[in-house]
Symmetry: C2
Subunit: 450 residues, 2 copies
Amino acid sequence: MKYNGQLLAELEFALKPIKVGVLGLGTVGGGTVNILKRNAAEIARRAGREIIITRASARDLQKPRICDTQDIQLTTDPLDIINDPDIDIIVETIGGAGTVKDMILTAIANGKHIVTANKSLIATHGNEIFAKASEQGVIVAFEAAVAGGIPIIKAIREGLSGNQIQWVAGIINGTGNFILTEMRDKGRDFADVLAEAQALGYAEADPTFDVEGIDAGHKLTILASIAFGIPLQFEKVYTEGITEIARIDVEYAEQLGYRIKHLGIARKTAEGIELRVHPTLIPERRLIANVNGVMNAVLVKGDAVGATLYYGAGAGAEPTGSSVVADVIDVVRALTSDPENRVPHLAFRADALADIPVLSAERIKTSYYLRLNAEDKPGVLADVTKILADHDISIEAIIQKEPPKDSTALPIIMLTQITLEQEMNAAIRAIEALPTVSGKVNRIRMETLG
Amino acid sequence: MKYNGQLLAELEFALKPIKVGVLGLGTVGGGTVNILKRNAAEIARRAGREIIITRASARDLQKPRICDTQDIQLTTDPLDIINDPDIDIIVETIGGAGTVKDMILTAIANGKHIVTANKSLIATHGNEIFAKASEQGVIVAFEAAVAGGIPIIKAIREGLSGNQIQWVAGIINGTGNFILTEMRDKGRDFADVLAEAQALGYAEADPTFDVEGIDAGHKLTILASIAFGIPLQFEKVYTEGITEIARIDVEYAEQLGYRIKHLGIARKTAEGIELRVHPTLIPERRLIANVNGVMNAVLVKGDAVGATLYYGAGAGAEPTGSSVVADVIDVVRALTSDPENRVPHLAFRADALADIPVLSAERIKTSYYLRLNAEDKPGVLADVTKILADHDISIEAIIQKEPPKDSTALPIIMLTQITLEQEMNAAIRAIEALPTVSGKVNRIRMETLG
Ligand SMILES: NC(=O)c1ccc[n+]([C@@H]2O[C@H](COP(=O)([O-])OP(=O)(O)OC[C@H]3O[C@@H](n4cnc5c(N)ncnc54)[C@H](OP(=O)(O)O)[C@@H]3O)[C@@H](O)[C@H]2O)c1
Ligand SMILES: NC(=O)c1ccc[n+]([C@@H]2O[C@H](COP(=O)([O-])OP(=O)(O)OC[C@H]3O[C@@H](n4cnc5c(N)ncnc54)[C@H](OP(=O)(O)O)[C@@H]3O)[C@@H](O)[C@H]2O)c1
């Protein structure tokens, strides 16, 4: 049964191509233009109508571009595009959470649909942006913001919509994974590989966002919201980088049958939600332990489906552009749909988001890899294990290593069972205070991901 | 802007829960009921309204069920449900392509939306079913038909919609993968593992569909259509089972750095589309080479995104039910949308499906693993390599193995470069005709999947 309004809408719809304006013509913006042009025919066969980029903006119009901009009207002022009544969809590929936020809010107020690759914007201002978008009945799509070309937002939000998601664990920063992969494969040091990653253009000149886990934290924030139906809460993510990972830990982990990966983990527990980004030992037989180089992968555990994994390029012009274009096509499909009945921005309807507490770092429960340097004396191990027992921490394995050439201190490696982070913190303080233990206890969390 | 018709539709929509009728209460039907009941609250938070199963059918109403059917009205006649004007969505989990086809067509004629897990139905009658569904403006959703709980239909059809898909390669039959995994891990023989799989309930009493590649062929047919925008053409799939795989081939492959997997492969080439299911040597470092046991995985290569992989449970009550329920929620979302503007059944609009030829088996291009038994005489290798050269087949590697205890014949293993299947067939006939070669040449195709 077709309503008159629907017939009218269909008619309007069939007549004109969809006009897209792209803000930012760098890596992702350029990749998006290239895909929409090269695959125009294929895309029209899918979407049923033409999708064309009529306008784009960049700061410097003289800069060489990775894409052909001949038939695109260029401007240095994004507002020219945002205020153009002819534009149906705004693609935002400028980045950053500052001025871009105001641009997006203006575009929404103008009734534009938005497609963005901007994880920091969504993770830090998404709640406000989605509220305004819903008021205006427009869509803000952000598949490209998490794990580049992997359609992970769609998989969780739609593909697994029958599940109660139990946890999500992902390698969601390519630079970090490249560094850890090189450290393992070639026995290289962190600083050395980082310098190479910067030279190769993987890592920014300021690599903090990548190696300190901030970028992964932004992405995890988004994944957790769509998995559990909670508001975006980037400020509550526990974030630990990979800068403290020593080559020796990578080696010991390997000998024990584990790989170290920088994971973003979101887990729903009876007490609340764990949101954490940190280096993690995972069993080498897991598929995700074998995701190497700049590739990304996300494991999602649902109560009905069990564990599923999604793997692909997490960054780059065309992989990220692939997600931008998929979102544009989705928006085109939804243009004539009832806004109330679309897939909600955060997977759950805004009025049904849950107020589940995010747990502080001290309340995380996980198992641990510990490395400490002890004097080669009787009783040291007894002291250490007593402290662990006092804090209710069960030991899974203890391995004593040969002292390195230039030292008499004996490296001791311990794997523990699952314990409360708070207890582990207290135990580590006590162990570090032992006169027979020198230096810091190096602690890396462990997950079985089973 | 809201049309009157839309407002009216919204109002109707908000008032009543969606009523689902389930045909078949076996593994998948039962799993679906369990998920929709257990996760009812979570699903309503996502979908914005209640989704309830009011009716279900099975042959034997006395049989114990894996699900609670207390508040479901049961019948032995599926038509009771199909003709019930109160039912909005029909879930078909009976299976088979015979009587079920007529049931589905009647349901469509009655204006019902359909969600099905039935790959043989879709692969063999999908073209007709989708045409009728489009005429009626109803949706036929089939995520559960391919790779169980993995949202692979959605990933290709929507998540990668900006790409020209170049190829798809998948482990899409869990039973076959279980058998090959056991053969490799434990050095067991095919027949032995098959018997165990049957005892464990993985394989049917008649295992033909699984081990001969027919089930995988059905799924590959569907994947190829949504990847390339071609009509469903199951009859053109080249299908080879795993019954001829010898333990020794699994071992030799291993020694050469390969795993043997039963893959469904769909590839678009300049000459046409390859559609083939067969055992395949793949490099062990590939993630998909490490997908073991009953698990499924699908690799999809797009021109923009590169290679992406999707992994999860390919069968089972709740994993498959997970996909059924996701489809039901998708249908609910699309209820108020313009049918013309929905995601097309086969990803591309029906009027835009392409008439690209499917290549016959002889025209497949791939590389090969060959094993033959030769007499230990000078000149044998020269004869064999000359035949290959005559057919334009380049050799990548030749390995001579020790003769087995009870034989004097020398096993020779060869890996070739990419060649035309037709040439390989001719070369194999010529090699088998050599007086110095005994028995058949065992040929397994090889793919790098890079
Ligand atoms: N790069 C990736 O692989 C990747 C992957 C996933 C997500 N993302 C996200 O995608 C977004 C874009 O990243 P990118 O790598 O494409 O960045 P980029 O290469 O630096 O491109 C940014 C573009 O925005 C323009 N621009 C910068 N500041 C502007 C301003 N204040 N006003 C107007 N235009 C401005 C730049 O103009 P000029 O070219 O003239 O300087 C440039 O064209 C970011 O949010 C990033 O996090 C990137
Ligand atoms: N099993 C899996 O893991 C899986 C995975 C993916 C897809 N699938 C597909 O899902 C479908 C269902 O598979 P399944 O494993 O759930 O099958 P199943 O366990 O054998 O269940 C079939 C159900 O249909 C009923 N039924 C059978 N013939 C019927 C008929 N002629 N009229 C009415 N009802 C009939 C049976 O009733 P009774 O119970 O009273 O005998 C039973 O409840 C198939 O298309 C299969 O290929 C299955």
